[in-house]
């Protein structure tokens, strides 16, 4: 029964992929969209059924496994096509199929004018299929199949409008950058297999405690760091985040689904899935936390200066992912997964909202040409507003609960420190600023819309997903109410924490309600002030910002230019590598190895020429050679 459900869950998107893939030339968006959306919806129902069944089981036994076939079995290496539904993957499959179905629905409206809707929907289904493999795999190798598979889907979808060379390049950049991470992921797999002889999650976790006592923790640390390189690539962390902002070249629903809600969170999921391993490598955890915090900070700072609505959201995603890594880095696995979930709701919401805006503005993405859209697009505005409140962490919206939980743990966890907390709070202040700036420039204030554009509210296929996600962004936080707040209202339970508890390693934290409220108060208050300041500046006193930026022109240009990281990569790594390759080809292959072979053949030929001259057909010279030979031989004898 469970096996069948898991098959339905995973395989329906694949069936959808094949159906739409075989009729990829069709221009009937409605039909293609209906097929694809129903496939994901069926998948969603299977996921819900599975989770419902999971809930009925006693707490300690909540897991279903499905073993399909033996995939690779060579020597002692074994990896099966086997899947695991437990408390952690349950959360993920609900997000993937749930948010996925909504975004498929949204796409039916968004892609209605496109020439290749069937192709688009088949890719989208293909993505969901791979994402499910990623989260359901019961070993690292099946996870890796999904890991690379979502990368491939992302490559195809970013470059969906490939006639534009910039978009095709963006897809390629995403794939290659991800490959750098994947190489690290592979090394992580090898390291774990080498030292622990298995790649299965359950087995690994079981072997961990015993091995940790006897072994130098080096191998675990090394493996965790390698796996984190994989996470850096997929989840766009410093220094491999550069592909994500470019990935906005894809259709906007793709940005919502792949580059905000699901795929980019794979790295966080992977670490949570392997929390028993990571917790044994405190040094690796520290590295993860620091990279996460720095990413949260720097990406937020870039977000404050961008003018493209999707770029702002892209940097915001990078920054929010940084928070999640800060969370797992300090051992706060539950809050990280919690934030993954709330972020999936509110960021998907905002991306879809931006899609709705872009659609209404006739493909315009520059926020300087928007403004005052509130009155034209009320539903988009209201839902976007909820997303805004959620991301800047205003209580009681969902982002408040999850982000503050992460910040709290970054302060009190034995792996955390006040320094990490401080960076996190600084990031939160900037988040409040750039999101308010976005709201103000797009929806509020005076309209700067060109006169030939007539913004309008989007059709129902697009607004329904917005409304559903809006509701989720508003209320989803209540499943993870921190104890400090819960106690205030008469012991409200933290449902999510309770649910995940059997799967996650517990931290030794001495909770202090006063501290928790204090930290919470500080971050909410600072974010609120920052938001109010941004609102004031961008709706009323624009000159204040201009004056400020003109005071620090160099800094501003550096931030607006994204710290010139892309330029650095191209100038210092990629271009030198290409010219090195050309040199290798010209100097080593053509002018060295081949020259040597020519020398050898020339030498053979000239030697042959030398001997050839002795065979001149002249009897007298032959007689002389014979005589000479006889003399030489005789001289040896005597």
């Amino acid at each position: 029964m469970e096996q069948t459900l898991i098959s339905i869950l995973i395989l329906t998107p694949l069936v959808g992929f094949f159906i739409n893939g075989l009729r990829w030339k069709s221009e009937n968006c409605k039909l293609a969209g209906t097929i694809a959306t129903s496939a994901i919806f069926i998948s969603f129902i299977a996921a819900v059924t599975l989770v419902a069944k999971l809930i009925q089981l006693p707490e300690g036994e909540r897991q279903f496994t499905a073993h399909f076939f033996e995939w690779i079995h060579v020597g002692s290496f074994q990896a099966n096509a086997a899947f695991l539904v437990d408390q952690i993957s349950a959360v993920m499959i609900l997000i993937i199929t749930g948010v996925g179905a909504l975004i498929h629905l949204f796409s039916m409206g968004y892609m209605s004018h496109d020439k290749r809707p069937a192709k688009y929907f088949s890719y989208l289904n293909f993505f969901i299929f791979n994402m499910l493999l990623l989260v359901l795999g019961d070993n690292l190798l099946v996870m890796f199949v999904g890991w690379e598979g979502v990368g491939l889907a992302s490559y195809l979808l970013i470059g969906f409008w490939f006639h534009d060379p910039a978009k095709a390049s963006a897809g390629m950049k995403a794939f290659i950058t991800n490959r750098i991470g994947d190489a690290g992921f592979l090394l992580g797999i090898f390291t774990l297999f080498f030292y622990f002889g298995t790649v299965e999650f359950g087995e690994l976790a079981a072997r961990m405690p015993a091995e940790a006592e006897t072994l130098w923790s080096g191998p675990i640390t090394l493996a965790c760091l390698f796996l984190f390189i994989g996470a850096m690539g997929k989840s766009a962390q410093i220094p491999l985040y550069v592909w994500l902002p470019d990935a906005m070249a894809g259709p906007t629903p793709v940005s919502a689904l792949i580059h905000a809600a699901t795929m980019v969170t794979a790295g966080v999921y992977m670490i949570v899935r392997m929390n028993e391993v990571f917790i044994l490598a405190p040094n690796a955890m520290m590295v993860i936390a620091v990279f996460g915090a720095l990413t949260a900070f720097f990406a937020a700072s870039i977000g404050m200066t961008q003018w493209d609505i999707k770029k702002v959201l892209a940097y915001s995603t990078v920054s929010q992912l940084g928070y999640m890594f800060l969370g797992v880095g300090v051992g706060a696995f539950m809050p990280a997964l919690f934030h993954l979930m709330t972020h999936a709701f509110f960021k998907a919401l905002m991306f879809l909202g931006s899609g709705s805006v872009i659609h209404a503005m006739h493909e315009e993405q520059d926020i300087r040409k928007m403004g005052g859209l509130k009155k034209y697009m009320p539903i988009t505005h209201i839902t976007f507003l909820i997303g805004w409140l959620a991301i800047i962490g205003m209580p009681p919206f969902s982002g408040f609960f999850s982000k503050d939980e992460i910040l709290y743990y970054s302060f009190v966890s034995p792996h955390g420190s006040s320094f990490l907390w401080l960076i996190g709070v600084a990031g939160a202040i900037m988040t409040a600023f750039y999101m308010t700036r976005l709201m103000a420039l797009v929806f509020w204030g005076k309209s700067r819309v060109p006169s030939d554009v007539h913004p309008h509210e989007s059709p129902a296929t697009m607004t329904i997903p917005l409304i559903v996600l809006g509701v989720l962004s508003a209320v989803a936080g209540f499943i993870g109410i921190p104890h400090a707040i819960g106690d205030l209202f008469g012991h409200l339970p933290n449902v999510l924490e309770h649910w995940l508890d059997p799967r996650l390693v517990n931290l030794d934290v001495e909770h202090s309600k006063a501290l928790e409220f204090g930290l919470m108060g500080i971050s909410v208050a600072l974010a609120g002030i920052s938001a109010a300041f941004a609102y004031d500046s961008y709706t009323k006193k624009q000159e204040r910002i201009d004056k400020f930026t003109s005071k620090f022109p160099k800094l501003y240009r550096a931030v607006e230019g994204k710290y010139f990281v892309d330029e650095f990569y191209f100038g210092k790594i990629i271009n030198p590598l290409i010219s090195l390759s050309k040199d290798l080809w010209v100097y080593v292959d053509v002018n060295f190895i081949d020259k040597i072979t020519y020398w050898i053949s020339d030498f053979v030929r000239s030697a042959a020429d030398a001997f050839k001259s002795t065979q001149n057909g002249n009897m007298q010279s032959y007689a002389m050679y014979i005589t000479l030979g006889v003399v030489v031989i005789l001289s040896f004898i005597f």
Partner: protein, 520 residues
């Protein structure tokens, strides 16, 4: 008889082709014969027993008694799939070259069938001299194939190819004769059988190249390294590929390069165990250099076919790495990757040939925007690209993953470097894909749009690609369907790497063995 039949039937086919009265019947006849040959080769599976490492379906007839040279053929898990690859690719090549080869059609197919005999013979011969004969004889039809049906610089390329590979094999011949002399010292009867070579205990001194075993080892290795080709002996390959006609490239990449890697597994490793272990670092290094170097140079090639040729250098580096890891994962991966490379790179050469036939250019800069003009071609090309850069669920991943696992188990440092090849492969392939298929329509696409001619592949060309695509996924999803046939042989090789011996399975033993396994 089966093995001899599979080996020499193509010679008969070649005679049949010569007897075909009209040229228009040549291709259909050849195709039917090729398919028949492939189906016949499948019969091997019926009699093949995958539960034993012993040599099977053995045929042995005296050839030169005084020197102990026999006509000695046999098959085991190491050669099984390479034979299948050779019989599988030939009908596809005939179908693929239907229109590409338009001069001396008869001669071409005669050449192809003769080449098939030499390839299969190389993989089945268990007598060193017989092996050498097949190994060398394969050069002749290939030489003509490049030299007659090749491109503008075909004479240069075929000469280079011939001399390069010939040079290596001469050293091997000297080494074989020395080994035959040693068997006489050991048993009193000279023998060229590989099985007797395995029993030899050749003097080995660590730390120097000039011990008997190391010298003989290197004589073999240079021959195989040139064939593979291993860096720095690879420069004949890009020239040969670029000048060869499409079917020549497919055969060359698909099967002939594997004669080198097969030689390593069949001879270099088991005959010279100490030298193999001692010099493994050298081959690891050359393999890793080949992976990185081939990938980097591939990246900057302006010609698609040359790019694929250099990618072969990179891929073959992986195979060497796996073989010299000398563990189950490494050698299984190496053997698997031999098949993968035959299929994926063969498919890439087919695809490049198909588009070249229409456009007469292989320059990347002439293309651009090909995807909308040739959608089906694009889909196939991208699938094969994914297989070539080892995306999971395709065959390439299984091979590369096993090789890297094996390398990591044997020597971590080399695995750390080799993994970079995974990144570079994506870079050179996808960059090429981007420039050829995406972006604004390029010169070629515009020309064809003006003339209103199609760039996409025909039904015949699709029929060529379909079996390859099926195999790409089949081998990627169910590697055990393939590996289980070789498993016992590979385990036997790894377990007995210092004292490798190969038994001959005769029919009595076979029934005894099956009885044993049944009673267990």
């Amino acid at each position: 008889m089966l093995l001899s039949l599979i080996t020499f039937l193509p010679v008969v086919f070649a005679l049949v082709i010569l007897a075909v009265p009209e040229e228009k019947y040549v291709r259909p006849t050849a195709f039917v014969l090729g398919v028949g040959q492939f189906l016949l080769s499948l019969l091997v599976f019926k009699d093949y027993d995958p539960t034993t490492a012993a040599l099977q379906l053995v045929e042995k007839t005296e050839w030169v008694r005084s020197a102990g040279i026999n006509y000695f053929m046999g098959i085991d898990g190491i050669s099984l799939w390479l034979v299948m690859l050779s019989t599988f690719l030939v009908p596809l090549i005939i179908l693929g070259s239907w229109t590409a080869i338009d001069k001396k059609v008869k001669g071409f197919h005669v050449c192809l069938f003769l080449l098939q005999t030499t390839m299969i013979g190389t993989f089945l011969a268990m007598d060193a001299i017989l092996f050498y004969v097949f190994f060398e004889a394969s050069l002749i039809p290939m030489y003509y194939m490049v030299g007659i049906w090749g491109g503008a610089r075909r004479i240069y390329a075929s000469m280079k190819f011939f001399i390069y590979t010939m040079l290596g094999s001469v050293l091997m011949l000297v080494s074989i004769i020395t080994l035959m002399g040693m068997t006489k010292q050991l048993t009193g009867q000279m023998s060229a059988s590989l099985l007797d070579f395995y029993n030899l205990d050749i003097p080995f001194v660590a730390g120097t190249m000039f011990s008997t075993q190391s010298l003989l080892f290197f004589a073999f290795c240079i021959a195989f390294a040139i064939k593979v080709p291993l860096f720095p002996f690879h420069t004949w390959l890009p020239d040969a590929h670029v000048e060869a006609p499409t079917p020549g490239s497919v055969i060359l990449a698909g099967v002939m390069l594997k004669m080198g890697t097969y030689g390593f597994v069949r001879m270099a490793l088991p005959i010279f165990p100490e030298a193999t272990e001692y010099w493994a670092w050298l081959f690891f290094s050359l393999g890793v250099i080949g992976i990185i170097y081939g990938a980097l140079v591939a990246m900057v090639q302006p010609d698609i076919k040359k790019l694929v040729a250099y990618s072969s250098v990179s891929h073959m580096g992986y195979i060497i790495l796996g073989i010299f890891a000398m563990n189950v994962q490494g050698i299984s991966g190496g053997i698997y990757q031999m098949l993968n490379h035959g299929i994926s790179t063969g498919a890439l050469f087919f695809l490049v040939g198909m588009i070249y036939e229409k456009t007469h250019t292989r320059k990347i800069e002439d293309y651009g925007g090909l995807a909308p003009a040739a959608p089906l071609f694009t889909i196939l090309f991208i699938i094969v690209t994914m297989s070539s850069i080892a995306v999971p669920m395709t065959n390439g991943f299984v091979g590369e993953f096993l090789i890297l696992t094996g390398t990591f188990m044997a020597n971590k440092a080399f695995a750390y470097v080799a993994v970079l090849g995974v990144i570079l492969a994506a870079a050179y392939m996808l960059w090429m894909v981007k420039r050829v298929f995406f972006g604004a329509p390029g010169k070629v696409v515009n020309e064809f749009a003006e003339k209103n001619k199609s760039l996409d592949i025909s039904k015949r060309e699709f029929a060529v690609m379909a079996p390859l695509i099926v195999l790409i996924f089949w081998m990627g999803l169910f590697p055990n369907h393939f590996l289980s046939w070789s498993e016992v042989s590979i385990n036997h090789l790894v377990k007995n790497k210092t004292s490798y011996q190969l038994q001959v399975l005769n029919s009595d033993q076979k029934s005894a063995v099956t009885a044993q396994t049944k009673s267990k």
